[in-house]
Amino acid sequence: MIRASRLYKTLSRSRMLRALGKYIIVCTLGVVVAACGEPEPVISGSEPSIRRLTEQQYRNIIWDVFGSHVVISGRFDPILRQDGLVAVGASQATISASSFDKYEKLARIIAEQVVSEDNRSLYMPCRPHEVGRPDDACAQAFFEPVGRMLFRRPLTDSELDDSLTLARKAGEQLGDFYDGLALGLTSLLVNPNFLFVIDGVEQASSADTDAELTGYAKASRLSFFLWNTSPDESLLAAAEAGDLETKAGLKAQVDRMMQSRKLRDGVAALFTDMLHFEEFDHLEKDNLIYPALDPEAIEDAREQLVLTIQNHLLDENADYRDLFKTRKTFINGRLGRIYRTSVAEPELWTPYEFPERTGRAGIQAFTGFVALFSHPGRSSPTILGKGVRELLMCQRVPDPPGDIDFTLFNEPGSQQMTARERLAIHNSVASCAGCHRLTDEIGLSLENFDGAGQFRASDQGQVIDASGNLDGIAYEDQTGLAEALSQNPAIPSCLVQQTMAYGLGRSLSGSEKNWFDYLLTEFAEGEYKFKPLLQSIVTSANFFAIKSIPDDGEQSVQAHINPRSDKRSES
């Protein structure tokens, strides 16, 4: 059984008082003027968590360790979204018996590729004395660095010994050093210490608290948040040296990570999670109705959203709220067909700005977003409006009541009605009107874009009326909606909430409201720039804060993995 760390005592109230005392002293003496705004609230943290790697994290790690030419075929069991985020659901995710088989099979395929004759020279720091016989020294030279990268910490002596023993015995039986090595690597790739991100906890070194994350656990938390992959060698070295325990050391690593191109992957992963982009994997459109939005174009539509977000938030360091009224994006040939514009380099992504006359502004009006929240063959103002409310504004729209009489809406002739006319019928029913009022105004303002996100001036022969009202702000058309959205306080609030939850891997608790308020205020004062928000989160002690669990409450990853493997180990 593999245990997570045993924890100590609950964070004491004195810790917060000590922090406040320091703040008062520093500000009174005027030592650090710049830091003397509102003090950052101290949170008690959460219990240490065990999170299953997402499929993309698994892939990223393998590609980081072994190179992107390693083919990773197959799918894993999906992680159920919790409170809007897969990152939160990952802490509840288990590995079923059938899923474990998939991991095992995948691990074997990866290991075979790594030790194959074509690739071994890339990864092996040594050559065995004889290929037909085990060579512990050479195997150790392979397992130590690879295991460190996979487990996000050095292998323990027993873990290393297990790998060496397995490789040795298998190598002897199979008469091939590399076959033995592959089996040893396979065992690492199905080890829960690889498949789960486990918060390691140790006795606190500071008097401010009683227990804290290990340096390696901090490194993992940083890395999965900012890069969506495991820590690199530099970050692991910093963890090993204790650099992450000091503000200067932590800042140096954060600064480095924020400069890395991997930050793009991290931001893409955050917004992919927050905006449910994994649903593009299953998005299908009626190609007779929307021939331009074929499967390749759907992939491009997702990528356009990601590229736009990355460019807006990272390259331009622009106001997050302007993402909902930006006309700047990237385009390629396939998307040019949908947006009906020429693309000078159809095979490349090219910077592009929607002309004002197109009325297209904000990512909510991009073909990817509109298509994701539409029916296969037609638009859906309700689904689209619900998407905006729930994903961009973090506002829960209740599911429809179970006793709705749909004959009202499916009467003969309804297919010839405009969307606005059809939805007017919904709004005439009291039990429907409450929710439709929340969603439909938004969706109807985007009706100039059909179910594939293509512009259209009319619906059922009638000029589309895109006027609406968002939380008291009336507007005339889609660009008005874009402006209203960008000014809506729920937009930045939702981002801060979801970014915090994503980074921490758990839903925020009521006790963390003060930190949330603090970050939101800081976000506003910083003109809603996203990178400073990320920096504020990861350089805060709150990001790594944990609280103890009862002494008898040992956490075990065993609860998360295949019961069948448990039996195997017993046998």
């Binding site: 892939r59 075929s73 190609n287 021939p291 992939e299 040019g336 020429s342 910077p351």
Partner: protein, 388 residues
């Protein structure tokens, strides 16, 4: 492509996207604006304009005698025994086909050396109707300074008299060029499948896409892959780059009631298909295209005098079409010169070009004239990606 592969591809394309950003800069730089005052079309398919009827009234002599028949007739009984496997090889297949054009007196390829043998005269069209245009401006077929005396046609709907289409007269009874034939369907399929030889029509200075008395029309060879929807049609509004430094002839035109026409001018178009790659040269070339109300599709004709030399350049390069399409190169060569009705040789008075018409269908697209600079961007992007 499975979902996992798509994921992998997404990662690769994201990297590629980063690379492309390195190559072209971020959005702070210049941004591309949507094109205005332009129309563009990519030709989806084109055919020699052949008016054929079910009972072949236009071909009273019957279908053209094919190369295969002539070749068989020329074989001695002994050769016939060998070449037909004792009479068992009835279909046009190996090993009969490769030998058929090599029937000159010294084994010459008769499509490359059409004067090396004399075949029975080619059966040609004698009907009244044809698609096409009145190229010489008269309705009686009388000779003019630019034409020789020739027969004229009337369009099937009777709307145009004096239609000049001697290429139809020449090819209209060739099985391979008729509706039930194979050659041009196959050539279109090749152009579509391989995205080669695809013709682009670029219309500039368009103030009103339904009515404009002066526009500029250019004809290009596309350098971009075609994309089709599930019904097999090209997806509208793709972006198509022109092949740099090739083709690009420009003519004056006008749009009236959604119909684009051009003034006569000399134009060269690419031709690709049935494994043949060459140019189609036209004198007094012009087009007439009816653009759909929504602008997504168009169909029409191009017409002009097609020099026999240009026509024959193509025919001899696709000599393998002769047995499939069922015609004789030597007979066609003779008939082509006899039927030529345009551009008389100043010395001999013999006309050198065939009046012709071709029907085509096109799909709206964006035409991007490539000056070759894009190659550097692509190279930079590729290099940047490798550095990732």
């Amino acid at each position: 492509m499975n979902a996992a592969h798509r994921k992998y591809r997404l990662r690769k394309t994201l990297i590629g996207a980063s690379a492309s950003m390195l190559a072209v800069g971020t959005l702070n730089g210049t941004v591309q604006a949507a094109e205005e005052n332009k129309l563009g079309f990519v030709i989806e398919s084109w055919y020699t304009a052949v008016y054929d009827t079910e009972y072949m009234e236009e071909c009273p002599e019957g279908i053209v005698i094919g190369n295969d028949e002539i070749w068989l007739d020329g074989l001695s009984p002994e050769e016939l025994e060998v070449q037909t496997g004792g009479g068992t090889l009835e279909v046009l297949d190996e090993p009969r086909r490769p030998n058929q054009y090599l029937r000159g007196p010294n084994g010459e390829d008769v499509c490359w050396h059409p004067e090396s043998v004399i075949d029975p005269p080619m059966r040609t069209v004698h009907g009244k109707y044809s698609y096409g245009m009145n190229l010489d401006g008269n309705a009686d077929g009388a000779a003019t300074p630019k034409t020789c005396e020739h027969g004229n046609f009337v369009t099937p709907d009777g709307s145009i008299k004096g239609v000049d289409n001697q290429l139809y007269r020449l090819m209209g009874c060739v099985h391979g060029y008729r509706t039930e034939g194979y050659l041009e369907h196959h050539a279109n399929r090749e152009r579509q499948d391989e995205s080669k030889g695809v013709i682009l029509i670029d219309v500039k200075n368009v103030d009103d896409p339904r009515s404009d008395d002066e526009v500029e029309v250019s004809f290009h060879l596309s350098a971009t892959r075609l994309d089709f929807d599930i019904s097999g049609q090209i997806v509208p509004y793709g972006s198509y780059k022109t092949m740099p430094n090739r083709y690009g002839d420009t003519v004056k035109g006008q749009i009236a009631g959604g119909v684009l026409t051009t003034d006569p001018s000399d134009v060269t178009l690419p031709i690709y298909g049935n494994d043949g790659v060459t140019d189609m040269v036209f004198r007094d070339f012009r087009i007439e295209i009816e653009i759909a109300e929504d602008g997504t599709r168009a169909k029409g004709l191009w017409a002009g005098y097609h020099p026999v030399s240009s026509f024959w350049d193509h025919i001899q390069k696709v000599q393998h079409n002769a047995p499939v399409g069922q015609y004789s190169c030597p007979a066609m060569y003779v008939a082509a010169h006899e039927l030529a009705d345009g551009y008389p040789d100043p010395e001999t008075g013999q006309c050198t070009a065939l009046s012709s018409a071709f029907s085509f269908e096109a799909v709206a697209g964006f035409i991007i004239e490539d000056d070759g600079a894009g190659d550097m961007k692509r190279l930079a992007a590729s290099n940047a990606e490798e550095l990732e």
